[in-house]
């Protein structure tokens, strides 16, 4: 859908690496171009027209994100440098100050490094215990297994909403319900979900949410940190500096601003924020539910074709998000990616930053094709055609 809005697709590119980043529609490119050529000033700074305009647009983008997530207050939306930065700020700024030795954090072995390593470090620093929720036979999180993992010491559950490898959609609403009944907070890594499915932070009752702008049609260098106001208000800034302080006279006389500015030290990537505003409006114009359905249809179409090819091993044929994880038996994933690249097809090979996943699927390298709104059935046909002939792959992969 909407392929004409993506100039890069004019070159017959088949882009199937949307889990890594997404393509940018013209409205997003224009939003950045307008900022750089028409009102390239800083926000929150000058008393002149173009700065006022930038300030208005910048804060308008915050409102756009707030509405998109159905957050209660605009102050709950903080702009960061990426989803990784958002999770690190949540762990270092909130949980480092509230957890104590022996407290338990529940994650899974399917998490992205960004939702593993900050907890590992906190474990070293504070003596908290990082535990893995047992997965079911489909490698998914179930409420029953979650119940078994919870102990009186469990204080945090930190999970990807949709994992970046298996693409399973976690039952976040049920998870937060169970968690809150046990006084546990829930951190959600929304990098692979916010661009693809409807997220209502109030309905899902999420405590903290992190996601990236560039995975949802905007540009790189921008992440979003959502937190319930009372929690966010107790999140200690990782960065101190300009823009976030009210006044300072001495070490004992430092006064910080209110949310959300307090958590946005220095100049943010303004063009990225404006591009996110354009991207969300663009997604809204299509309808996020239509995007979800399109991806589900394509995924089902692809799986039905790929599963009949004997040398293709599928790792997630039962999950419904637009991520297809596979290997060509006997061929290194990177060689498959290089082969497809010869036909202008972009997929990702490797471990996809989920280095614990090898314990779950017994391989540390896979091919990942990840879909978005502009992908088509014809593109899937081309992918399937190229993957169906193993001899051809072996012949052409080098």
């Amino acid at each position: 859908m909407n392929r004409n809005d993506f100039e890069i697709l004019n070159n017959n590119l088949i882009y199937l690496d949307n889990g890594a980043t997404t393509l940018k529609p013209k409205v997003v490119v224009n939003s950045i171009n307008n900022y750089l050529t028409k009102y390239s000033a800083n926000a929150h700074r000058g008393d002149y027209d173009i700065s006022f305009k930038v300030d208005t647009l910048y804060e308008g983008a915050r409102d756009t994100v707030k509405e998109f997530l159905n957050a209660s207050r605009r102050e709950e939306i903080v702009f960061t440098s990426g989803a990784t930065a958002s999770i690190n700020m949540i762990v270092d700024g909130y949980f480092k100050n509230t957890l104590k030795k022996g407290d338990e954090v529940l994650i899974t072995k399917v998490e992205h490094a960004s939702n593993v390593l900050p907890w590992f470090r906190l474990s070293k620093e504070l003596g908290i215990v990082v535990k893995y929720i047992e997965l079911d036979s489909n490698n998914e999180v179930t409420i029953d297994n979650l119940k078994k993992s919870i102990t009186p010491n469990t204080k945090v559950i930190s999970l990807a909403h949709i994992t970046n490898t298996l693409g399973d959609i976690r039952p976040i609403k049920e998870i937060t319900k169970l968690a809150h009944e046990n006084n546990i907070l829930v951190v959600v890594d929304g990098a692979q979900s916010v661009p693809h499915i409807k997220i209502d932070v109030k309905d899902l009752d999420i405590d903290f949410l992190a996601f990236s702008a560039h995975k949802m049609l905007a540009t790189t260098g921008l992440g979003i940190l959502y937190g319930k106001y009372d929690l966010l208000n107790n999140l200690k800034p990782t960065f101190l500096g300009g823009g976030m302080n009210e006044s300072f006279d001495d070490v004992d006389k430092v006064f910080l601003k209110e949310l959300p500015t307090r958590l946005e030290a220095g100049t943010q990537s303004i063009e990225a924020v404006l591009s996110l505003d354009a991207a969300i409006k663009y997604i809204n114009s299509i309808g996020i539910d239509n995007i979800t359905k399109h991806e589900q249809d394509l995924k089902e179409y692809a799986i039905n074709k790929l599963k009949s090819i004997p040398h293709i091993k599928l790792y997630n044929k039962n999950t419904t998000s637009g991520i297809i994880l596979f290997n060509v038996e006997g061929i290194f994933s990177q060689d498959v990616a290089y082969y497809l690249n010869k036909y202008n097809i972009c997929i990702r090979a490797g471990n996809h930053c989920a280095k614990l996943l090898k314990d779950v699927i017994n391989t540390n390298q896979t091919c990942r094709a990840s879909l978005y709104l502009y992908n088509t059935h014809e593109e899937i046909d081309k992918l399937v055609e190229l993957l169906s002939d193993k001899e051809r792959i072996l012949k052409e992969m080098i």
Binding site: F332, Q334, Y338, I398
Partner: protein
């Protein structure tokens, strides 16, 4: 070297790599070096036995793509029995070749299969990967023994 010959050399060294084996219990004569590529998941452990300035043996294990694996296989085939000085000269020529600089074609043997690898940005790093590790081991040996 024509394209078909290049392909045959690379594929045969990939399908049946020289020197790829599990690590034996006793590796006391060997120096081990890990060669990784930041831009991909190639990950090789290379074991090198150097005695009296001569490379006695090299073997490797790990996971890598067709280009890295075949390049390692060819490297092992070409460099066992060479002096460290000859090996360094070989590596320098190999690096010149993949970086489109002047090099001596006469000494590179089957590694000429990568003479056009510079045309494929990322794969250049794959072909180069084993040499990064080997060069490090030889340089450390030279420092210790000179």
């Amino acid at each position: 070297m024509d394209e078909e010959t290049r392909r045959e050399i690379i594929m045969s060294n990939y399908m049946q790599p020289v020197g790829k084996k599990d690590t034996p219990k006793d590796t006391s004569n060997y120096k081990m070096v890990n060669s990784k590529n930041d831009s991909c998941i190639d990950n090789l452990d290379i074991y090198v036995d150097i005695k009296d300035g001569v490379i006695k043996d090299i073997f490797f294990n790990g996971e890598a793509c067709a280009i890295s694996t075949s390049s390692t296989s060819i490297m092992i085939n070409e460099l066992i029995g060479k002096t460290t000085k000859e090996a360094i000269n070989y590596i320098n020529n190999f690096e010149s070749m993949i970086n489109e600089k002047e090099y001596n074609k006469e000494i590179l043997g089957e590694s000429l299969a990568y003479e056009e690898i510079y045309k494929q940005g990322n794969r250049k790093h794959c072909a180069h990967l084993p040499y990064i590790g080997l060069k490090k081991v030889i340089e450390e040996y030279e420092e210790t023994n000179n």
